[in-house]
Amino acid sequence: MTTPTPMLLLLASEVTGRPVVTLSGELVAEIKDVVFERSGGRIAGFTLRNPGLFSRSRKDALPWMGVHGIGRDAVMVAGETVLIPANEIAPRKQARDADVLQDRVLTDNGRDLGRVVDVVLHSGTSLEVVGYEVEASEALGTAGRHVFIPLPDTVAVSGENLIVPAAACEFISEDLAGFGAAVGAFRARLREGAS
C-alpha cells in the first residue's frame, strides 16, 4: 500500500474576500461566495464583488476553469476575459440548493454526525470538496466541538442531508493539519473495499 501524499487544503470560508488578480498584476475583484456544483463534489466557481469595504456584487463570475492558481493570498486568473455572466455559473435557485452550510451529515447507516459549518477544499487540477467541518453531534463523543469529516470521491447531497459512508467516522480529525492524510487514508480504504 502506498502512503497517501499530503494535500494542500483550504476552507471555503477562507476563500471569501480573497483578491482576484490577473497574471499581469491587476486587481479585478474579490471573491464573494463559493458556488458548489449540484453534485456537491466540486466547485463550479465563484461569485464576485468589487474590491473595498462597501463593495457591490458584480454581474460576472469566475468559473473554476478560469482559475490559474488559488493560494493563501490570492486567486490568480490569466485575465479578465475568463469571467462569465454570473447566471451562467449557477442560476440563483441552484446556488441556494447547493449551499451545504447547516446541512446535516448522516452516515449511510443512519447516524447523525452533526451540522456543516465549513467546507474543506483541495486545490489540484480541479477544486474538489474533500471534507466538511462539522459541529459534532452527540454521536461523536466530541459533541459541540468542530471536527473534520472526510468525504469519498462522490457524495449524495439532497439540500438537507449529506450522506457519507459509516467508515468516515474512523478518519475524523480535530484539526486541518492532519486532515489531508485522513482524507487520503479514508479514500484508500474505500477503494480497497470496492475492489
Binding site: T22, H68, G69, G71, D73, M76
Partner: protein
C-alpha cells in the same frame, strides 16, 4: 546595479555637457523583465520619461543622452500609468502565479549595459528576474 544606488543620478546631455535631469525612478516591464523607461525629475521641459533605448550610457556617475529631445511625455496609456507612478515596482507586493504573497519589493538589481532586470529583492526573498510574469497596479506576479 541596484535601483537604490542608481536613483538620483544626473542625466547629462553629451552634446552640451550640461545636466538636464535627474533619475527619479524606473519603469520595469515583463517578458523579459527589463528597465523600459526612466522616470526623471528636475527636467526643464514638459516630458519626464526617457526610454531605455535612448540612454547612451548608464555609468557609475551619470546617465548620458545625445540630446534633450529624447526626454519626452508619455505616448500611450501604459506610459501614462508609468508616469503617474501606478506601475512603480518598489514597494509593490509580489504574488506567485499560485496565489502566494512573497512580501514587497525592496530593491531591484539590473544590468546597466542592457537594462535587463536580474533580481527582485524583498525583505526575505531573492527572486530571479526571469520569474517575473507581470507588473500591474496591484502586484508583481512571478512564476511559482
Amino acid at each position: 546595479m541596484l535601483f537604490s544606488h542608481a536613483r538620483k543620478r544626473d542625466v547629462v546631455n553629451t552634446a552640451t555637457a550640461t545636466r538636464v535631469a535627474r533619475v527619479d525612478g524606473f519603469v520595469v516591464l515583463p517578458g523579459p523583465a527589463r528597465v523600459a523607461l526612466l522616470r526623471l525629475g528636475k527636467v526643464s521641459g514638459a516630458g519626464t520619461l526617457l526610454a531605455w533605448e535612448d540612454v547612451r550610457g548608464f555609468g557609475p556617475d551619470a546617465v548620458t543622452v545625445a540630446n534633450d529631445a529624447v526626454i519626452r511625455p508619455p505616448r500611450d496609456g501604459l506610459e501614462q500609468r508609468a508616469e503617474d507612478n501606478d506601475l512603480e515596482i518598489l514597494g509593490k507586493r509580489v504574488i506567485t502565479e499560485r496565489g502566494m504573497e512573497l512580501g514587497s519589493i525592496t530593491d531591484v538589481d539590473f544590468d546597466p549595459e542592457t537594462g535587463a532586470v536580474t533580481t527582485l529583492l524583498t525583505k526575505t526573498e531573492t527572486i530571479a528576474g526571469q520569474r517575473m510574469i507581470g507588473l500591474g497596479g496591484y502586484a508583481v506576479v512571478v512564476s511559482a
